[in-house]
């Protein structure tokens, strides 16, 4: 199944206020081969569109634009995620409107 996604979410995230905890990822994918069926769930459901694939079809994930909703943990916490926690205090997304 092809999944439609032409929207540029990164541009939208660029408007948000983040305090990115550089070098201290609060979400980490498992190191071993990723089950792409599981990964596809996150490609569809992550509101920040952080679960991408590169030109070779490999998973490409960056925690920097995370909105801390928990969707990926609920869907794939037991399958392809190594770690999911909230960012350290003061770090991460800061909603001005919410």
């Amino acid at each position: 199944m092809t999944i439609v996604n032409t929207v540029n979410v990164d541009q939208k995230l660029g408007i948000d206020k983040f305090h990115v905890d550089e070098g201290n990822a609060h979400i980490v994918l498992k190191k071993d081969k990723i089950d792409m069926q599981e990964y596809q769930k996150l490609m569809i459901a992550c509101p920040a569109g952080l679960y991408k694939i590169d030109e070779n079809g490999n998973p490409q994930f960056d925690y920097a634009g995370c909105l801390e909703c928990g969707t990926c943990r609920v869907l794939c916490g037991k399958t392809i995620l190594e770690k999911w926690e909230f960012p350290q205090g003061t770090m991460g997304i800061e909603f001005r409107f919410g």
């Binding site: 996604n5 939208k12 305090h19 992550c46 909105l67 205090g89 997304i93 409107f97 919410g98």
Partner: protein, 430 residues
């Protein structure tokens, strides 16, 4: 009791946590509230609107002072297909009467105000600190752990939101199930107050709540929403996770398509996107409420799953306030008796059972299941409504058909029995 021990520590500066803290401090208890964001509300998102009845009881006339956006006096519900939109609209001054009024709010703003009220009442607010774990001794929760620091309290209130990792750590519940939660994605789109008044036919300070079923969530369980704020519009899409993952487009794409729908695009024209947000919504209702009482600990608000989505109304914040009030009553009683055991704190459950929180959750307990079991609401009826309206209003010059025959054609397509069954089941679950 040692000097550095609090009567109560509350984890989370959302509405449930802040109101609990406020009520306890007002009665003279030593209360600390720990929030991981830089300010209360900085991690919080609503659709959304707050129904005022429960906070009104605690802070009468709060809406006069609080930074609410607009009083909602116009309710709209739509069935939306790719090219059409069929809407039912209800506007009434009855919607705005004090005590049964509701307001659009922005949590980044509203929660800060609520937190300032709690601070004025004597709550010690600590922001920018993430609670990592709880101090548990012989099964009793004795406080919180944040990094190297440990803080002790007679009772700890978990108000850490829908994800409540702390309730999970205590084993009060497992991981959330994909059918119990929906993910919402939202944009704040800035427009002048005057433009909003004009486009939504609103009087100054009044506003619209608008919910959509059908194409916004790509025909999956969920929908679109639009709320007018003072000088912005909250526009978003919500979808239940178990269904969302079967969709043929991404959630951000659904929102993008919703924005460019011919019924929506003109309303947003000239608007500037100010924020993009996402959040989980507990939608399992009564059946997802986990264990909420233990030795030295209570769970409130979203962390306890106190939320209802009825399709035409979404309620969470009034339950947050209601559960906070029950928790505060229980803690005050426990404090008087100096007994913070699970057995004594069971009075929290009794207060909840007597309050609208449990009464409403129980009343609507079968509704989440009904939505899940009735995909036609999301992928059938919007199309049927649009087809009937198309036949009524689109004049092609072709010979007309008797109205009854025309209507019956669309009804038969859906199946008369299906419609009767869905209607019966839906009404029975409400």
């Amino acid at each position: 009791m040692s000097d550095d021990r609090f009567d109560a520590i509350i984890v989370g500066g959302g509405i449930a946590g802040t109101v609990t803290a406020y009520l306890l401090a007002k009665e003279g208890l030593e209360v600390m509230l720990v929030e991981r964001g830089n300010y209360a509300g900085s991690k919080n998102v609503t659709g959304g609107r707050i129904y005022s009845h429960s906070l009104e009881k605690i802070m009468p006339g709060f809406a006069q002072e609080a930074p609410v956006e607009r009083k909602i006096t116009r309710e709209k519900i739509s069935l939306m297909t790719e090219e059409s939109n069929v809407t039912v609209e209800f506007s009434s001054t009855r919607l705005g009467e004090q005590g049964s009024d509701s307001y659009s709010v922005l949590r980044g703003v509203f929660d800060q105000w609520l937190a300032s009220k709690a601070e004025d009442a004597g709550v010690q607010m600590v922001t920018g600190i993430r609670v990592d774990d709880l101090i548990v001794r012989e099964g009793k929760v004795c406080g919180v752990i944040a990094g190297e620091d440990e803080l002790e309290a007679n009772v700890t209130i978990l108000a850490d939101g829908v994800n409540s990792l702390l309730a999970q750590k205590l084993g009060y519940r497992g991981e959330l199930a994909p059918h119990q939660v929906a993910v919402g994605v939202k944009e704040i789109i800035e427009l002048s107050a005057e433009v909003i008044d004009n486009r939504f036919n609103c009087r100054e300070g009044e506003g619209t709540s608008w919910l959509f079923a059908g194409i916004p969530s790509a025909g999956k369980v969920g929908g679109g929403f639009l709320y007018t704020n003072k000088t912005s519009i909250s526009l978003g899409v919500v979808s239940t996770l178990s269904e969302l993952i079967k969709a043929n487009k991404t959630l951000p794409q659904m929102l993008e398509d919703f924005k460019s729908h011919p019924s929506i695009e003109p309303l947003l024209k000239g608007g500037k996107m100010m924020e993009y947000s996402g959040h989980l919504v507990p939608e399992g209702g009564f059946h997802m409420v986990p264990k909420i009482i233990g030795d030295g600990v209570l769970v409130v608000g979203d962390a306890a799953g106190f939320c209802i989505n009825l399709g035409y109304a979404v309620r969470g914040m009034d339950f947050a306030v209601g559960s906070a009030e029950c928790a505060a009553k229980a803690v005050l009683k426990a404090n008087k008796a100096q007994d913070f055991s699970a057995g004594f704190l069971q009075c929290y459950q009794s207060f909840l059972d007597e309050s609208f929180v449990m009464k409403d959750l129980k009343h609507y307990r079968n509704f989440p299941h009904f939505l899940e079991e009735t995909p036609r609401i999301f992928n059938g009826y919007p199309g049927m409504a649009a087809d009937i309206m198309t036949d009524l209003f689109v004049v092609t010059g072709n010979p007309p058909q008797p109205m009854m025959k025309m209507m019956m054609k669309h009804v038969k397509n859906m199946g008369m029995l299906n419609i009767a069954k869905d209607g019966w089941k839906g009404v029975r679950s409400l």
